[in-house]
Every structure is written in C-alpha cells, then in structure tokens.
Amino acid sequence: MSNTAWVATRKGLFELRYEADGWQIANISFLAEPVSMVMPAPTGQRMLAALSLGHFGTKVQGSDDGGATWTELATPTFPEQPAGAEGPAWKLQQIWSMERDSAGTIWAGTNPGGLFKSSDGALSWQLVESLWLRPERLEWMGGGSETPGIHSICLHPTNSAELLLGISCGGAWRTTDAGANWALRADGMSADFMPPERQMDQNIQDPHLIKRCEAAPDVLWAQHHCGIWRSGDNGASWQQIQAQPSSFGFAVAVHPQAPDTAWFAPAIKDEKRLPVDAALCVTRTRDGGKSFEALRTGLPQEHCYDLIYRHCLVVDETGQRLLMGSTTGKLWASDDGGDSWQTVSLYLPPIYALRFGA
C-alpha cells in the first residue's frame, strides 16, 4: 500500500507518511501559500506543485528530491490574445490538474480552460491550441468559478497518445493522437441547469470529476453536477446511476483493479451543499452502480458541515487505502476500502487536492 501521500491546501503542501500509528505529517512545503495541485513522481523523476499566489499569480515549483527542496520552474502562459477574441481573457488563473503520461509528457489543465503540455519537466510549456482554438470552447461556462476549468486528465494505461479530459462546464473531450485532434465524449450526460433543448448538449456538461479504472481502461466514472454517470466503452456512451443518500457531490475514486468498484462523497444537491442530515458518509458501489453502501464508521454523524471537493477523495494502487479531505481542513483515512475511517487531522487548512505516491 502507499505509505506516502500529499495534501495540497490553502496554506501549503503537507507530506504524509504512514507510520506504525497511522498517517503522520512528515513535512510542510510552501507554508502559508495556496497550493492548487500536486503531482508526485516515482523516485528519480520530477515532482511538481502548482501554487496560486493571491497577489502574484500562478507558479509552478519542481522537486527532484521527493519534495525536500523546491525550485521555481516555468509557468504555463497564454499567448497574446488577438484583438476582439471572444471568451474569457487569455490569462492563467489556476492550474487545476496535472498528470505525467507514460511517454514523460506533463499535461496541465487550467482555468480559464486551457490545456498545456511540457516535454522537458516543466522547464517550458506549450498551450494545446488544437483544443483552445476550437469554436466549441466559447460555449464552455464556469462551474464553481467564473471561467471554465479542466480538472480531470485521464491518462490511458497502455496508450500514451490517448487522453480524456473533464471540464466544468465543457463536457468530456478525448484525443487519441497526443492532442493533435479532439472530440467530445460526453454522450448520455444531461444537465438540468440548461434549458430543455440544450440539456443533452455534450459541450456544456458539468462533470465535477472523471476517473478511469487502471486495469479496465474502457471503464470511466464521473461525478457530475447532476448525478453519477459510468461509461463501459471509454466514454463513447454514458449511463446515469442513482445512489443514496444523494447522487450529488464533487469527488469520485475508482478501484484500480475492480472496474465495478467506486467511491463517492455525497452532499445535498445543490444549493445547500452540505452532508445529508449533517452526517458525513462515503458511498461505495461494488457492482457497477446497481447498489451502494453508505460507509459511516469513524466519520462524524452529527453537526458535520464539511464538503469534499473534487480532488479530495483518493484511493491507492491496492484499492484498500483511501484518504478524504474537506473544505474545512479535516482529513480522514481508511485502510479497509472505506469500511472504517480514522481521523488524521481536524486542523488542516482547507484541502484542495490529495495524491498518493512517493
């Protein structure tokens, strides 16, 4: 099981190590600075952290020694905005997702909806213009912020040229040629926040997070603004699934070996955004969404007002060890697939992202 994990928060990056008595905070980097995303790396590869400095903008920091020391690297930068260009300003607001594919290319999803790539370990970045310049981008909307954002980058375990993106609110997009061409991949999702004639429009869907099963890459799970969807054909079609006590939420974690097993962190849809009955639970399906269990052991069951954001429920490579972090800085861990939870901390800053890995 993974014995190292990272907690990106509003006030710094916390390294966790699993000790005899459970997860402990082992190190803090960038204390007091907002860290929007972290990308751990295997030994010998460069780890990255994305900072969102309140006054001075987005920055990328890299570490070649597992997070012990950091150096500022290049920041993704939009090219000059043509006069009269429609849509949001061509200005980087946040790095919301980062992944390294098996060919070594690093991909970064951002607000306001630009995808960037780096082939040199973040010494330089290139805007993926084949997506940014598509006319459909101008139909994307903000979801949770004023501008659209790319929050999900689903790599393909056997094909480094294939990526599937999740965008709030711009649906799901796939490339099979390393970003040269893109196609919408959200057929079957529906959006009740749109007028009736646009509810099935793939390009305005709001998947809050999309995750792929590592061992069965045709299986994708999406926690969408309007519920839960699953695809068994690599996103060609999506089927809606109902869960109790709620199908609303932001996060989804998928078992790396068992494509029918996934976890969610439900909340009341959608104006109130609180745990149902102020009692926190994780829902788990092990049969592809036909049924769900509400897992509550060890989680607060009264007066709990924590929300679990999209990057804040994660599972390790065994499918047994999970971490869940909240908007109010609470962190819980499970070693038994979510059956029971232990409190790691009640006093962290607001949590933006969790990642396992050295």
């Binding site: 400095l53 309140g54 006054h55 001075f56 903008g57 920055k59 500022e72 920041t75 930068t77 939009f78 090219p79 000059e80 905005q81 300003a89 061509w90 200005k91 980087l92």
Partner: protein
C-alpha cells in the same frame, strides 16, 4: 524621453524571487519594469499577467500617484521619479 528613475519592489516579493532595487533610464513605467525584468526574468510573471497587463492584485505608484494605464503601463516618468511596485489590498 528616458530619464533617470528609481524602481522599488514590495519586500513581500522577496519570499518568492529576487527583487532588484535599481536606478535606470526609462521614459515610462513599462520601460522601468523592463530594466528590472532584464536582471531577473522570473520577476515579470509576478508583476504582469500573460497579456503583459498589471496583475489585478498588484498596484504601482509613481511619486505617490497610482498608475493609470494598467494595460499599457505607459504613464510617463519625470527625472528622479520613484516607482513603487506594491501588493494591492484586497479583502481585509
């Protein structure tokens, strides 16, 4: 017409990157900033956004007067002008 001016950066920036305090010849605020960016190219992204505009939460004062041209940074400088690059107060 370039004149000798001084440019000073908020000490808050030193947490992140080098902030040269320098006397330079410049006719506009942008020219003065470019002289500082030549000494530390990384500094540009802390002060200006992708489009070369002043960041929304950074403020510049010229001899005590707030910068007016937030996108072009074309405000003219006088001999001996002092340009202060500061954090804008936003929130409490």
């Amino acid at each position: 017409m370039p004149v000798m001016v001084r440019i000073v950066f908020t000490p808050q920036l030193r947490r992140f990157t080098d902030t040269p305090e320098l006397d330079t010849e410049a006719g506009t605020v942008r020219e003065a900033l470019e002289a500082a960016f030549a000494l530390n190219p990384r500094l540009r992204g802390y002060v200006l956004d992708d489009q070369g505009h002043l960041r929304a939460n950074v403020v510049i004062f010229i001899d005590g007067r707030r910068l007016r041209e937030l996108e072009t940074l074309s405000d003219a400088l006088q001999p001996g002008s002092v340009v202060h690059v500061l954090q804008a107060l936003s929130g409490g």
